[in-house]
Symmetry: C2
Subunit: 156 residues, 2 copies
């Protein structure tokens, strides 16, 4: 447990957001100006393996880190990429039936909610319009697309 590792852990625990490695680096640097980004990456990885923090693989391009190692879900803004905890109970039984039907041995699941955070929502209402090209979810249609191949009907 080096000084660098300790500061990284304490820094993450002080952050209410779910920061990326770069964001942790920016804050840690205030205390350890000579630390390198590589060290931050290595230690976040190590701390995650030690079970002291949690590495989050949500949508978007960046990996994020969470001092809270308990299982819980997240909610991410499709406009500004902010991430908050989702106050939803963890589903305990959702994995059970999958073992038999798929042949997989299920070990976990990840649930992420998407939406507009309060700030972006307010701005969107103010402007009465919001570009839609940020939305990551597929169209809401439950029917087969007009030109989808008939021979490969979906099970869903």
């Amino acid at each position: 447990m080096t000084r660098q590792r300790r500061v990284i852990l304490e820094t993450l625990r002080s952050m209410p957001t779910h920061p990326s490695a770069e964001e942790v680096y920016e804050v840690v640097r205030r205390e350890l100006p000579r630390i390198s980004l590589g060290t931050v990456y290595r230690n976040l990885e190590t701390l995650s393996e030690l079970g002291k923090i949690q590495k989050l693989e949500l949508g978007g391009t960046l990996k994020r880190f969470d001092w809270n190692t308990c299982k819980h879900y997240h909610i991410r803004c499709i406009n500004c990429d902010r991430v908050d905890d989702a106050p939803v109970n963890v589903m305990a039984d959702v994995e059970i039936s999958l073992d038999d039907t798929t042949g997989y041995r299920i070990t976990g699941h990840r649930l992420e909610f998407l939406g507009l955070c309060p700030d972006c929502l307010e701005k969107a209402i103010g402007r009465r319009t919001l570009s839609s090209h940020h939305v990551a979810e597929p169209p809401d249609s439950a029917e087969r697309p007009d030109d989808a191949p008939v021979s490969k009907a979906s099970n869903f």
Copy 2:
């Protein structure tokens, strides 16, 4: 709708897997040897915006693509990264309560199951051991880690 775009769409629709852009490229190249990877990326993006295919942002580093545009869930092997459809009904009501409690306007959710695919499961059983450093999920403990900060108790 250029020849390239048409071939890319048909190729994706012929693939039972959930290929990355690179994998689509490899197959498309058999028909259009002079196509460039950039064109594949651009067209997969365009087709996704047109709602003709779905871009998947699952865990792992690669983005994947799915000809099936209906909402459904996926199951990913933590060992070999293979992705299959998860035969689970889409949860219609899970987003409802979040609007009020979080201030977010929820627009969707993403659920991904993790586990060992049948092939990797068999190999693991054969070897009676499997390295655990591929597992992406946090430890199963529901209790507070021994040295977690008491002042920041989790809600979960």
